[in-house]
């Protein structure tokens, strides 16, 4: 299965992937409009900055998904290898935040739910982070 990978040697730490991710997942194609809304869109990818290295990280879609196994409501499930969240069933208990080894579950405090990377399946396109990365540090590849 194709997943998103980050080559940290190439990551500039520019955070553009976060903006593209948040913008695209807000349903608004225009980034300026998306970020002008009262409720700021949430990125599902996160850039970690270090002294000599930066990298972006988002859901690894683990083969042993502790978030799914531990989900108290059944909102999280694996759909053809992609871990997805049914927000109508999520109550924001954050057991998945407790469980995820990579810290890739994002809280939507206002809506009392979580959100996470679904490889942009919901918008049926190449992941926005991959598309937008100016240095091609983020790639969509099958490494199985």
């Amino acid at each position: 299965m194709k997943k998103v990978y980050v080559n940290e040697e190439w990551c500039l730490g520019c955070h553009l992937c976060e903006y593209y991710c948040a913008g695209m997942n807000s349903g608004e194609r225009d980034l300026v409009k998306a970020f002008s809304r009262e409720k700021k869109p949430l990125p599902r990818i996160r850039v970690e900055e270090g002294t000599d290295v930066n990298f972006a990280v988002q859901c690894r879609h683990c083969a042993v998904p502790y978030c799914v196994k531990g989900c108290i409501t059944g909102a999280l499930s694996v759909n053809d290898g992609v871990i997805v969240c049914d927000q109508t069933r999520c109550v924001g208990c954050l057991t998945c935040v407790l469980s995820c080894p990579y810290g890739c579950i994002v809280r939507d405090e206002e809506a009392h739910v979580i959100t996470k990377c679904d490889l942009c399946l919901s918008r049926n396109a190449t992941p926005a982070c991959v598309e937008g990365c100016p240095n091609k540090a983020i790639v969509l590849e099958d490494r199985e």
């Binding site: 990280v57 196994k69 531990g70 990579y102």
Partner: protein
């Protein structure tokens, strides 16, 4: 092979079905449960009562789960006896099994209290029916509630009732709330958040006597109530295995494949003991993720595979009125290094804290209150018993980031298959 039979219909049972079906797509599975409902999320009974979720969203799996997995259900039926290769229902009917999972959960522990029989509206708040019944009373005008027990169940009931506009009093024998999960500081923060939202606490005392709608406390206080919730504690349902001659300690004893000492009988969930790798001893870890993982491991074993469950740790994610608490491992240990930091708002008020507890060259526990993002990075260090020699401890104390790991870890975990 003969049927798989599962006694129970919650997380451990569903984990077992999903575990079995990884390897065996065909052999029929029979689920027997004394509750009349299809599988639902037990923790959601408080969210349903509080109006934080809707009735049709409390079900743990989709409507077609049983048919999709070739599972037949015997709901509203109680297993009375466990035999060598069958179970006997209280109706006398006998169901044969090839492999059996005991996932009987726990039952409320209610200490003897004078006059409790006089109370009509009393609940233990352990199942959906009690949530529906309390919901009905509140809808019909119940205005006040007394909750006996300030543990997780009691406090979630309190939050739900407060959200419904009910006046809530919580009493507990202990001097603090959530004594089994939180230290004094954390406990005080949770108590304060509930108080800000209307809860009244009377701690360090017990109920001496009850009339129909009044409790008389040992400290002399008198509390009137329309609804009484008894949430003192829970005990594992071990009787079936015990009476059949299986080994039982605090809970049902199993090996790491969840097999009991009885032939072809497995056990998972709140009725069992788990080996807590952070405390180094067997404990009851009555937690939903633990139940699912045990059930799944049992299911794989029952179907002939091997999936040891040997990384059990205590862990909790809970919130009250937007204040989140996440904890894992042995967070109460005091004999090693402890890193603590307060979280303050702009005015300098303490809103939460971070506490990291270290053992011999590893992280063994933590509590995060208010700032809980990415907590799972800490959980993983505990679960995998990662050596601190392999991580940047200063970075670890600062915040949970993957940067604390070295380059080779990142290459393997972020660049490869996990």
């Amino acid at each position: 092979m003969l049927n798989y039979v599962i006694i129970g219909n919650s997380a451990a049972a569903i984990g077992c079905v999903e575990g079995i079906r990884k390897l065996d797509k065909d052999t029929p599975i029979v689920i027997i449960s004394d509750e009349p409902h299809r599988t639902y999320s037990r923790p959601l009974i408080s969210y349903r009562l509080g109006g934080q979720t809707k009735h049709d969203k409390i079900f743990y799996r989709g409507e077609n789960f049983y048919t999709d997995n070739n599972v037949s259900t015997l709901l509203g039926k109680r297993v009375a006896k466990l035999n060598a290769s069958s179970v006997t229902l209280s109706s006398g009917e006998e169901i044969a099994f090839g492999k059996l999972l005991v996932a009987t959960g726990s039952k409320p522990f209610v200490p003897p209290m004078t006059g409790l029989d006089n109370v009509k509206n009393k609940f233990t708040f352990m199942d959906l029916d009690s949530s529906i019944a309390i919901d009905g009373l509140v809808t019909n005008g119940a205005k006040s509630a007394l909750i006996v027990g300030a543990g997780l169940i009691g406090l979630k009931a309190a939050e739900a009732l407060l959200l419904r506009g009910v006046a809530v009093t919580v009493i507990d024998m202990a001097a603090k709330v959530m004594p089994s999960v939180l230290d004094d500081e954390g406990s005080a923060l949770i108590k304060a958040r509930l108080e800000q939202n209307g809860a009244k606490f009377i701690l360090g005392t017990v109920a001496d006597k009850f009339d129909e709608a009044t409790a008389y406390l040992k400290n002399g206080d008198k509390v009137d109530f329309d609804v009484l919730v008894l949430a003192v504690g829970v005990r594992p349902n071990t009787e079936l295995v015990k009476e059949a001659g299986g080994e039982v300690g605090l809970g049902i004893k199993t090996d790491k494949f969840q097999k009991t000492t009885l032939d072809n009988v497995y056990a998972a969930g709140d009725c069992t003991e788990s080996f807590d790798i952070t405390a180094g001893k067997d404990k009851i870890l009555a937690l939903l993720p633990n139940a699912y993982l045990q059930g799944e491991a049992a299911g794989v074993s029952m179907a002939g595979g091997e999936m040891p469950y040997d990384k059990a740790i205590p862990m909790n994610a809970i919130g009250f009125f937007g204040l989140h608490v996440i904890s894992a491992g042995d967070s109460m240990r005091t004999d090693g290094k402890v890193y603590a930091e307060q979280i303050k708002d702009k005015s300098g008020n303490v809103t939460g804290y971070k506490k990291l507890v270290f053992g011999e060259n590893k992280l063994v526990g933590y509590i995060l209150i208010d700032e809980v993002d990415r907590a799972g990075i800490y959980t993983s260090l505990i679960r995998e018993q990662t050596s601190l020699s392999d991580v940047d401890v200063t970075e670890l104390e600062k915040s949970p980031r993957l940067m604390l790991y070295g380059k080779s870890y990142r290459k393997e975990k972020l660049g490869g298959q996990v």
